[in-house]
Amino acid sequence: MIPFGFLDWFWLGAFLVLMVGSGIRFYRLGKRSESDFFLAGRGLPWWLPASSVYATHTATDTPMWVSGVVYRFGFSGLWYTFYAAWCAISAFVSTKIFRRSLAYTQAEWQSLRFGGLSGELLRGWVSGWQVFLNMFILGWVGIAMGKVCHYVFGWPPWIGLIVFSSACAFYVLAAGYWGVVMADFQQGIIAFIIIIIVSLKGVHAAGGPGAIIDKLSAMGETGRLNPFSFTGFFEGEFPVAWFITMLVIGILGGLGMGTAIDWYPEAQRIQSARTVKDASWSIWAGSALVMMRNAVWAAAILAFFVLYPDLENVKDYEMAWFRLGFEHLPVGMIGFFFAAIVAIHISTISTHLNLGAVYITRDLYHHYINPGASQAQLVWIGRVATLILLLGSFVFGSIMENITEWLIFALWIMAAGVWLPGILQVVWWRFNGWGYLTAWIFNLVFSWLVVWVLPAFEVIPHLRDYQQFWILMILGALVFIPVTFLTKPENMDRLVKFYAMSRPIGWWGPVKREAQRRGLI
């Protein structure tokens, strides 16, 4: 337990009032329409969604994860965080295309790109999957906060889970995305300041930059300073083949949509930007901040490694950054640090509450249940959906220890086999809804076989994660490409309309010629 003085409680109270209060202030804007409640009326300058991208991806569990990989691998561990680099290309390719589609969500995009039954099945599937996924992420991040509260106050983890997620829900229920993005802006600033302060304090506690390098040298660990310190091309714990796979997944994935789990919150930020240009720069800048934040953390974790080099238990070294803060900040600053952790926490919680709610409201309720709903009804459904997600997250958070392994597997299988179809739907006109649907279904089957069943019966050896990725991609392509050619192309009227509006890149020759013939472009 960490002792709290008056000043510490003051910081925490003041921050909570500031964060929750400023979110609620936007109540009047949020209740105006569905577009306001979920996209802030599509009128934000680039730096607001950018700060929201950064704040959302700075969660309570993020420093634990970065600490884990950097403590194990040194600066090479930074490549584990490099999946965010999909925005490097996406900002100038798929972000532009998605912003021009005007779809509220990735699910709605499916029914704009693909028509008929396959398009509707995809919309239903993606929205259902996203409701589940957001609830799961809320539980995951919420219980991480519970663990931090247990470390600081000795509370049972469920108290931290419920108290801070509920505090955040006040302004999400009141003001929707307006509240989320305005609170994210100030939370992002608070988080960035505390990350710099604690990390520099950690470096100082280890004797300063020179001493850290000298100590690493004395320990025979200077390789930890080299981000390209690999263990061979295929051999060892950190092979070049893994690195190349990560670069391919991360960077080339930016050509497509839905190629990373982060695509879904980013999609909402893209549509909330006031212009196509604002959308592009918001995604680029938000992810650049995420990368640099990881880098600052990494330096602090090397300092922690020098201070505590012999930790073997993951649960011990994953707390590295938190320990640097709680053990080395002076009295009175502990409360500031904890308040910043709360800011980090609720910026992520607020995003996923509102994001899950948009799928329930726009894709399930508005499109399938009540197409004639009024704007006031839709805002209220958005609030009810927010509440459902909050309650669901408490259930997920309370059982997280038992299901994490299965759900990480679920996340992995959703990423591996649909990575290539996620690109093809953007760059290839002939790729159709049945091909994409088949990719989702067969990916479920193949991933179970490749990751669990076949190794268990010793038909194939246990494969490394990067090997699984390539195998699942090839197996999926062997099914969804024939299915695409054996089924009809999408209706040309739909494709032409879609092309004229979104202007996708790649192999769209026949559609482009038809659009030109009709005088649409």
């Binding site: 930074l78 490097a88 100038f92 005007l102 709605e108 300073l225 960077i251 720069w281 880098a295």
Partner: protein
């Protein structure tokens, strides 16, 4: 200088050009330079400051290269956005 074209006609801005190709090549490189440069700079390693500097220079080049094109695309698109939004609402209500 042709490489840093400042004025774009809408029909040209909407086609893939060398500006797009250069941008998607240097953009990931900037991410890598900023990440590694930042990590090394916190430990006051000189290479880190050099990488950061190169990353910032490339960022300025990228902004000057692609921003005018993005502006032209945006301006042209926003003239049509209202109609597209009406179409989108018809679609969600099954009227299209």
């Amino acid at each position: 200088m042709d490489l840093l074209k400042k004025k774009w006609l809408p029909e040209h801005a909407d086609t893939w050009t060398k500006e797009d190709t250069i941008t998607i090549i240097i953009s990931p490189i900037i991410y890598i330079l900023l990440t590694i440069g930042c990590a090394l700079s916190v430990l006051l390693i000189p290479l880190g400051f050099l990488l950061l500097f190169v990353g910032i220079v490339l960022l300025i080049v990228m902004v000057r290269l692609i921003n005018p094109k993005l502006s032209a695309i945006s301006e042209n698109y926003e003239k049509k956005q209202k109609q597209y939004l009406e179409d989108l609402e018809k679609k969600v209500k099954w009227e299209d």
